[in-house]
């Protein structure tokens, strides 16, 4: 169970919610409404006020790296720090067969792991980053626009894998603009208000 308690992300009102094991919360809202900031805050990648519990333990009870090993954030724009994707996958104790299966599930092959990062398409990189985030059995997946860069067929594969992760008892928090995806996979939907809607000032005339 993931529980977020009075999280302060200005200018949003403080956020309190919980997501049970095997359930998916989707976060919707216009660009700039704070979807990414919310996911980053849950992953403890930005300093934010508020409490976040995973299975009863608050994030500050363990170190940042320990927390993020369990609560995985997958950015919309994947990060690469090696010439090939393989260099960015954990080297120790990788079950090659399992990894191959996970890659096949999203329409990739182990051969993709040894291609030059620059020669991979945005969609291939996004799917590789998704598979990379599954390594090490995280409890929570925080997915930022996981299908935005994908063609419909690949998007359907990734969506199926998200569902599979939920069956396996993982918690998924998914930020997306895709209302259809949100309706299909979510158990709960969180709508973030338009940025600054509350602070619009009358200009005293047509602009």
């Amino acid at each position: 169970m993931l529980r977020v308690d009075t999280l302060r992300l200005a200018p949003l009102p403080s956020l309190t919610f919980q997501v049970a094991d095997g359930e998916c919360l989707t976060v919707e809202g216009a660009s700039g409404s704070g979807k990414t900031r919310l996911l980053r805050a849950i992953a403890d990648l930005d300093p934010v006020e508020g409490l976040i519990f995973l299975d009863g333990a608050e994030r500050h009870e363990i170190t940042g790296p320990q927390w993020r090993a369990r609560v995985r954030y997958v950015a919309a724009e994947s990060g690469w720090w090696s010439d090939t994707p393989r260099g960015t996958f954990p080297r120790d104790a990788v079950d090659a067969e399992r990894l191959e299966r996970q890659l096949a599930n999203v329409g990739l092959t182990p051969e993709h792991l040894d291609r030059d990062i620059g020669h991979l398409s945005t969609g291939e990189r996004a799917r590789l980053a998704f598979v990379r985030a599954l390594q090490g059995e995280p409890k929570v997946l925080l997915l930022d626009e996981p299908t935005a860069a994908l063609d419909p067929a690949s998007a359907a594969l990734v969506e199926e894998q998200i569902r599979f992760q939920l069956y396996a008892g993982r918690i998924v928090v998914l930020a997306t603009h895709d209302v259809g995806l949100s309706q299909r996979v979510s158990h709960t939907r969180l709508m973030l208000p338009k940025p600054r809607a509350a602070t619009l000032q009358p200009t005293g005339g047509p602009a």
Partner: protein, 270 residues
């Protein structure tokens, strides 16, 4: 060989070359006459003040005056490093690293040199301590400037890669290891090339000075080799210190990347 003392007239003669440069600037409309004049004037004033100050410190032979002069160098170093950055750490951190890293490293190398190698009496004798300290700090400063610049710009540019690693549970040291390594390598490059070309491309300034002052070239060479080793040591220590401190400052205790602690600085026209 004897030392030839320069008269003010000799200096004025040398300044003629500066007038030639200004003339060129006028001829080609470079608009640099003013800068040439002010830079030259600044140099004369700075060197003049330092020369007389050093004379006072040497004559007083007081450890307090020596320490005071060293502290003045510390302040200038801190300012110099911080002002050369494209991105600076918030608050006083840039000044602290910029001053502390070169100064500490320089001080260690210098104290080692005057006690264990030169054996001057007393060890803090300003005639040995201050010029060596100056050379150490000057070189370490160049290295530290490069380290800070490389690390802060690389961390900014490679934010998504670094945060990608952090998001997978890497510690700040793992996530920033490539950036740190690149920074240290860059910081050590100048002293390595200086050692490689010493004597071939350029006669090092100190050796030139000693030879002009009438020293035997072989003796001057020995001093220069010692100085090069000391500089390499001091730069190494300073560069590593600055690199480690910047990794700590760029992240926090939760192992988050904190680029918000950097503020962009408008580089002054060099």
């Amino acid at each position: 060989m004897t030392y030839v003392s320069l008269t003010p007239f000799d200096l004025a003669l040398a300044a003629l070359l500066l007038i030639l440069t200004s003339g060129l600037s006028l001829a080609f409309r470079l608009g640099l006459e003013r800068s040439i004049a002010t830079s030259a004037l600044r140099m004369c004033v700075q060197l003049g003040v330092v020369g007389f100050l050093l004379k006072l410190v040497f004559e007083s032979g007081s450890p307090l005056a020596t320490a005071g002069f060293a502290l003045m160098m510390l302040g200038a170093t801190a300012y110099e490093v911080a002002s050369r950055q494209e991105r600076r750490f918030q608050g006083l951190a840039s000044y602290l690293i910029g001053g502390a890293a070169p100064f500490l490293a320089g001080l260690i190398a210098t104290v080692f040199a005057v006690t264990a190698i030169i054996g001057s009496e007393p060890w803090w004798s300003p005639r040995f301590l201050l010029p060596i300290l100056g050379m150490m700090i000057g070189n370490a400063l160049a290295g530290v400037t490069l380290v800070l610049d490389t690390i802060t710009s690389a961390a900014t540019r490679e934010k998504s890669a670094i945060e990608g690693r952090l998001a997978l549970g890497a510690t700040r040291w793992d996530a920033l290891q490539d950036v740190l390594r690149r920074g240290l390598r860059t910081g050590l490059t100048p002293i390595l090339s200086a050692m490689a070309v010493a004597g071939v491309v350029s006669l090092p300034g100190m050796m030139t000075g000693q030879i002009l002052a009438g020293a035997d070239p072989v003796e001057a060479m020995k001093y220069q080799i010692m100085i090069m080793f000391l500089i390499a040591g001091a730069t190494g220590v300073a560069v590593v210190l600055a690199g480690l401190i910047s990794v700590v400052l760029l992240t926090d205790e939760r192992h988050r990347l904190r680029l918000d602690r950097l503020v962009p600085v408008n580089k002054p026209d060099a």
